[in-house]
């Protein structure tokens, strides 16, 4: 186990390094440099030279990367956005909390709803209940998030005024203190999430139901309920752990479409705005954070898998 962890840790560091080099390089491929785009109409050669100097962009790329890596490794300093005049750490801190809150709530409700739905479908396979849930799952899965969000928003906020219009959700406090405002964005994410997760759960349950140990348990006189919830469900949940682990990056990646539709200043919007404004320092920061959480999520999923399933050995 220890050897495995050390190896995975090393792999993670290499992965993060490759991601950082690739992102850093890509962001600097912009024609004529980032500073030219920042100047827009205010470009002239003198202004460009001054701004390049101010941003440190007149130094060789490897030097710039070295400085960035140095600050990151020693101080966990993701840099400074000259376009927003704020440190990337501060920007991410401000935007991350509400994104994690919204996506986390959505993930929670997705799991809470999709597990029982999957179980019901598996235990009532090929019945009206199964077909009905399957149909709705397909519909939920097929509807694009942006479309669903817009429809829900227009129905409940504009047409029927069920949920009042609020100012921009720009902090965790704003998100936490206005639970009504969270219903639609979370609901939008939950609908598409449940559609996928419940199908996955159904499939996993069906796999387990046909296993020999189920037949053995029944033969030994275990009740159906005990077999189902004491054995089948626990084993069927194991693949779900992987799925949940791999979903962790969405917590910090935000939900761009939902954030845009419901006027939420979250990490997804921050990233996309930075990308379109060529604010490469922010893009680099959010990319690195997402990569880090992806690596951690993957690791957690693997370890959890091994912990939950005695047949799996991490070596």
């Amino acid at each position: 186990m220890t050897t495995y962890l050390i190896r995975r840790l090393f792999q993670s560091i290499v992965t993060l390094f490759i991601v950082s080099v690739a992102t850093f390089g890509l962001m600097h491929l912009m024609p004529n440099g980032v500073a030219r785009a920042m100047l827009g109409r205010n470009y002239n050669p003198q202004n460009l030279a001054n701004l390049n100097h101010k941003l440190g962009l007149d130094k060789p790329l490897y030097v710039q990367y070295g400085h960035w890596l140095d600050r990151l490794a020693l101080h966990f300093d993701l840099g400074y956005s000259y376009q927003r005049n704020q440190s990337v750490n501060d920007l991410m801190k401000e935007d991350l909390a509400q994104s994690i809150y919204i996506v986390g709530l959505a993930l929670f409700f997705t799991i809470v709803l999709s597990v029982p739905l999957g179980v019901v479908q598996a235990t009532r396979r090929n019945t009206v209940t199964d077909y009905t849930i399957t149909t709705f799952s397909f519909i939920g899965y097929a509807i694009p998030v942006f479309f669903l969000g817009v429809v829900l928003r227009d129905l409940f906020q504009v047409q029927f005024h069920v949920i009042p219009i609020a100012k921009q959700i720009d902090s965790f406090h704003a998100a936490f203190s206005q639970p009504a405002q969270m219903i639609l964005p979370v609901g939008t994410l939950v609908v598409s999430g449940v559609a996928g997760y419940s199908r996955y759960m159904r499939s996993s349950m069906l796999d387990e139901i046909t296993q020999d140990y189920v037949r053995t348990a029944i033969a030994k006189g275990a009740t159906k309920r005990r077999v189902l919830y004491g054995h089948v469900l626990r084993n069927a949940m194991i693949p779900m752990v992987t799925l949940i682990g791999l979903s962790l990056p969405t917590l910090v990646g935000g939900a761009l479409l939902v954030e845009q539709i419901f006027n939420i200043q979250g990490i997804g919007v921050l990233t996309i705005q930075a990308a379109t404004q060529n604010d490469f320092v922010i893009v680099l920061g959010t990319t690195m954070l997402t990569a880090l959480v992806t690596v951690i999520g993957s690791l957690v999923a693997d370890i959890s898998y091994a912990a939950l399933d005695p047949r799996v050995r991490l070596t």
Binding site: A37, R41, V158, I165, Q168
Partner: protein, 643 residues
């Protein structure tokens, strides 16, 4: 360039400003239900309802997704934006002179701290009187020393200022502060003596309207308030650089610290009609309240204006659709393109999709601008083609601006006819310029191509008659060369897609093959550099639609088109044109403008004129929103709820 800088950046008010969009907050010209106007630039006005004093207004930041990020008005080049200036800083700190209120291209002396200036008989010295009523809210008067403070800072920190431009050798002019020989300061005025005689309107409307007096309380070097010496110096003080460096270092850092905009005592010292109440560093939303000590002519009606942040036009549209009442309802917002009603000059409210939500459609202000796409005379592939006057004329002939306005832009626009904007009112157009106004004439385009030796049997046409004769393809064009180029434009603009697809199709009729390519606005901005040995990338682009040019009061193109000018990235050079431009800056004689316009309309410029967009605004039916300028700035002191 500095003298015009304050306005040119306004063309970049975001991606949506690509066509030199005209937008200020609402309309000064209220629509009338019974006027017969069919053109947005001539729609009539209606009487305003009685004003109610007090109240809080909620207004969407414009464009959605943008917000201010610099509060010190002495901005760096990368800070110059309409969000920072006309939609933020001017609320608190007013430039000496204010241009363009209510669609009128004139100096509005009521809007700034300076009265009408006087000139010496030799035309070299201007005396700018400062109004006795105009003071900072810390009790100090706005004095000549406050103006000197700005000029000193500009002199010392020219390389870091967005308001500075190096001397223009081609036009033979210097800009602030290089063109100042001396200044004389008093409590009630400042006199400035220039190095040569200039067009007096140009000095006031282009140069001095960029100068913002700074309170002496800003002449500090640290948070403890240690006194600086920048304001005490003269332009030729030996210690000027050192004195201003210390102040600049402190103020420039404080001026971009968005988290302390509302809390820093420095920025609470204001001479404008408003002071900043709070600023949300995360979203960029902010609130302003009345400056109770404001001594200017136009005192605010409202107690407070909240500028609300939106992630996207769609998010803003949702709030508008939800209605104009309620605690978070907007009083002013903008129609997204997709939901803009068709312009109807006879009844602006016809087809208003927000009528039931309690909003009126209001026409945005016109912009003192020219819309165009730019061609690169230095393009390694097609530069020689663009240098041919007949070819750029043909490109212009194929541009059907009115159809674009009527079609994808739903009537909300007006044409660019030449190098001097015809709208808003105020610019003088020469008879020659009027005669040469850009028009849609595909037949002429075709005949021009045929008359200059192009085989139009295929598209793109091929040159069959190389040479420099009148009936030949022109210098640098070889037999078999194709009449083709790539036109790049910003992505995600459906109306623009339609307009340019139509243009491409039309141009093909004259044998001109245009390859359309979309990129993000910033990517296009990154490509826009001039062609030179040091900058070979600047030789790679053919034509780019990036945005128009917004002028100051005097619409001269000294920094856009003169040889070697900072923004002349087109490799365009014409000594006669340079001389004509120089006259517009140095002479107050109207003939200088006529000569300039006439010559400009007779040559091949690297700009193909396109329409200017007007933005329709949604204004709550119980709200009056007049008061905006031709540069996308907001003047909320004119806003009020109606009784």
């Amino acid at each position: 360039m500095a003298v015009r800088n304050t306005r040119k950046f306004l063309a970049l008010a975001g991606v949506v400003a690509v066509l030199a969009s005209a937008a200020a907050c609402g309309s000064s010209k209220k629509s009338s239900s019974n006027n017969n106007a069919t053109n947005p630039v001539t729609s009539a006005t209606s009487a305003s309802a009685p004003a109610k004093t007090g109240g809080v207004a909620h207004v969407a930041e414009w464009p959605a997704g943008s917000s201010p990020y610099a509060i010190w008005p002495f901005m760096a080049p990368d800070q110059l934006s309409t969000q920072n200036a006309g939609q933020f800083q001017y609320f608190f700190y007013r430039p000496l002179y204010f241009v363009g209120l209510n669609d009128k291209l004139a100096v509005n002396y009521d809007m700034g701290p300076a009265d009408k200036p006087t000139w010496s008989s030799d035309g070299l010295t201007i005396t700018v009187p400062l109004k006795s009523s105009w003071s900072w809210n810390n009790g100090e008067k706005v004095t000549g020393k406050d103006v000197q403070f700005w000029l000193n800072m500009l002199k010392a920190e020219s390389g870091k200022s967005g308001y500075y431009s190096p001397p223009n050798k081609a036009a033979g002019v210097n800009y602030l502060p290089d063109n100042i020989k001396s200044t004389t300061v008093s409590d009630s005025s400042i006199s400035i003596t220039f190095d040569q005689a200039y067009n007096q309107n140009y000095i006031v409307g282009n140069a001095l309207q960029t100068v913002t007096p700074m309170p002496l309380a800003w002449d500090v070097t640290d948070d403890k308030g240690s006194k600086g010496k920048c304001a005490e110096d003269t332009l030729d003080s030996p210690s000027l650089q050192a004195d201003c460096d210390a102040v600049y270092k402190y103020l420039s850092a404080a001026g971009k610290d968005v988290k302390s905009f509302a809390s820093n005592p420095l920025w609470k010292i204001a001479d404008g009609p408003w002071v900043l109440k709070d600023f949300n560093a995360t979203s960029g939303a902010f609130s302003i309240v009345q400056n109770k000590q404001f001594g200017g002519e136009h005192k605010p009606y409202l107690d407070e204006v909240d500028f609300e942040a939106f992630q996207s036009p769609d998010a803003e549209w949702t709030v508008l659709k939800a209605g104009s009442t309620g605690p978070n309802a907007l009083q002013i917002g903008v129609f997204p393109n997709a939901d803009t009603p068709q312009y109807n000059g006879n009844n602006l409210q016809a087809g208003n999709p927000l009528a039931s939500a309690g909003y009126n459609v209001e026409k945005g202000a016109l912009l003192d601008s020219i819309g165009y796409y730019q061609v690169n005379f230095g393009s390694k592939n097609h530069g020689n083609l663009f240098k041919q006057a007949y070819f750029t004329k043909a490109l212009q002939d194929e541009m059907d601006q009115q159809s674009a306005i009527n079609g994808p832009y739903k009537g909300w626009g007006y044409q660019t006819t030449g190098v001097v904007p015809g709208y808003p009112d105020g610019n003088t157009l020469s008879p020659a310029a009027k005669a040469a106004a850009a028009k849609f004439d595909p037949a002429e385009a075709k005949s021009l191509m045929q008359a200059h030796g192009w085989d139009l049997s295929t598209t793109p046409a091929t040159c069959k008659s190389p040479g420099t004769g009148d009936n030949q393809c022109g210098e640098g064009i070889k037999a078999g060369d194709k009449a083709e180029f790539t036109l790049e434009y910003p992505t995600s603009h459906p109306a623009m897609d339609t307009m340019l697809a139509s243009y491409k199709q039309s141009a093909a009729g004259a044998g001109i093959g245009i390859t359309l390519s979309t990129k993000t606005q910033n990517t296009l901005g990154g490509e826009l550099v001039g062609c030179s040995k040091d900058s070979p990338a600047g030789c790679g682009w053919d034509a780019i639609l990036y945005g128009g040019w917004v002028f100051s009061l005097q619409p001269t193109t000294d920094s856009l088109l003169t040889t070697g000018a900072g923004s002349n990235i087109f490799s365009f050079s014409d000594p006669k044109f340079d001389a004509a431009v120089a006259k517009t800056i140095k002479s107050s004689d109207p003939q200088a403008w006529y000569d300039y316009e006439s010559y400009a309309s007779s040559i091949s410029l690297p700009l193909i004129w396109m329409m200017n967009q007007i933005w329709p605004w949604a204004v709550a039916s119980n709200f009056h929103d007049s008061g905006q300028d031709a540069f996308q700035g907001f003047e909320p002191e004119f806003w009020y709820y109606t009784k």
